[in-house]
Symmetry: C2
Amino acid sequence: MSLTIGVDVGGTKVAAGVVDDQGRILEKLRRPTPSTNPELTAGVIAEVTNLLKAKYADVSAVGLGAAGFVDETRSVVLFAANLAWRDEPLKQKVEKLTGLPVVVENDANAMAWGEYRFGAGRGEEHVVCVTLGTGIGGGIIVDGRLYRGRHGIGAELGHVRVVPDGRRCGCGNRGCWEQYASGNALSHEARDLARVEPGRAARMMELSGGTVEITGLAVSQAAHEGDPAALECFDTVADWAGQGLADLTATLDPALFIIGGGLSAVADLFLDRMTKVYTESVTGRGHRGIAEIRIAELGADAGIVGAADLARQQ
Amino acid sequence: MSLTIGVDVGGTKVAAGVVDDQGRILEKLRRPTPSTNPELTAGVIAEVTNLLKAKYADVSAVGLGAAGFVDETRSVVLFAANLAWRDEPLKQKVEKLTGLPVVVENDANAMAWGEYRFGAGRGEEHVVCVTLGTGIGGGIIVDGRLYRGRHGIGAELGHVRVVPDGRRCGCGNRGCWEQYASGNALSHEARDLARVEPGRAARMMELSGGTVEITGLAVSQAAHEGDPAALECFDTVADWAGQGLADLTATLDPALFIIGGGLSAVADLFLDRMTKVYTESVTGRGHRGIAEIRIAELGADAGIVGAADLARQQ
């Protein structure tokens, strides 16, 4: 049996797992990310890898899903918004510290690959994975291969502009899709509403410790209770999400969208409306096939499973 | 020497050519398109094909570049905005009338393939071709292959929404990119300007027969004369074009954009500004490689050359 290790390296945590060739995780480890120091980050990745390797002697390679821009050779993290990586030779460092061959991949790409191989995308060849989390990540599978683009930085779907002169984005631009259709966008809607209609937002504020700094979790809980203001926030996010999928269809015409990320755990609150808006917004509708929309199946493990499988395929 | 015939079938004309395996056109024929009658359209395609075949006996196949949605089997035109095709079995009809194997492809895809194989895209593997004509067409080359999407309808780049509740589009939606960055968009800007500031638009109106129905040609001529209002119209279109390329880069991260279509003939009036806006708008700029932008080389022949080559490769 061929085993590889997948490591999901985000801004707050490093999650690693030993994965078999059927995408099953045999064992997992988790550490906080020392995000401000690249040497310590590499050290933690190596630590969890070596611990797992010591226990599973036949591990043959390591795949890293890294929250940043990864170069086309899948070796160097060029830039990361939430970690201190700048032109970081991550592959080289972790190979030196572990003695195993390493593949580095963008974290959203790794998740998409995991879902494509072992989750909601099994059996499809044209898949676009959209991760609705704090922001929006993306991964594209074309003819059964991960699409990386010329410089390794494809599928940054959250940074397509959807509103001219729109909301500021952490990427330095304005109007990016992730400012309108993510978990952060959900909070943004709720806080906006609380600012101008505090009475209507009372339940969401109550669930956020009595402040207008309403969290996505509070919006979800209130919406599940039937709170009309919270449901309205979800509707707004669903509309932006559905329109974005329609725009991606104009460009990519996939067979399938997989919706992952934190918001996918509360898909009951937006999936129907998002799908309706998508269906009604696709260009050429009525004369063409459109994509199916499915919710991701692997949850938070998708990145580990995908990174491990990419390492196996290298 | 292997010869194939490429036919570019648009709403107004059918242009056919015999093409060799180096992408050279040996002979061309042209007919008006009987666009309201699918039988007559197929008849004209067959007529020009048979005339060329009679003269070049070793022609082995026909490629059709059709202005419409083409299904994933490259046989049926599902829908066309400017022709009467609805689920039209074009491959079958033309094969019957010519006795040659036929491949049907979307016209913008055929143009992109022509430029990729024998024009501005030679040697690149990740190319996005953007045709700025009356509207905007697109073609995507991934790893040296034409990207068609699951249903054959990928790369409809002109129908990505760039302005919520924006200008009406012929596709039934609002705010599509082609309403802001095409030849029609150029006229739209000029007419808008003439409506509110007729004095400033005087030269463009003069060149359009004294009416406010300013043509794209009039804007180009006035701009070449240095008319400030015409130059302003080009600037506006350049800004929308550059932003659109930045958005495509977020999704596709190509090595190269090829700009074709009617507007590419006056690239001197917008290329610099479009490239500047593109460079300044790409997400993650400063931390990543970005695409080169080149003007198409094959002009109006790209569709013929591309369709013929796709037929050869079938």
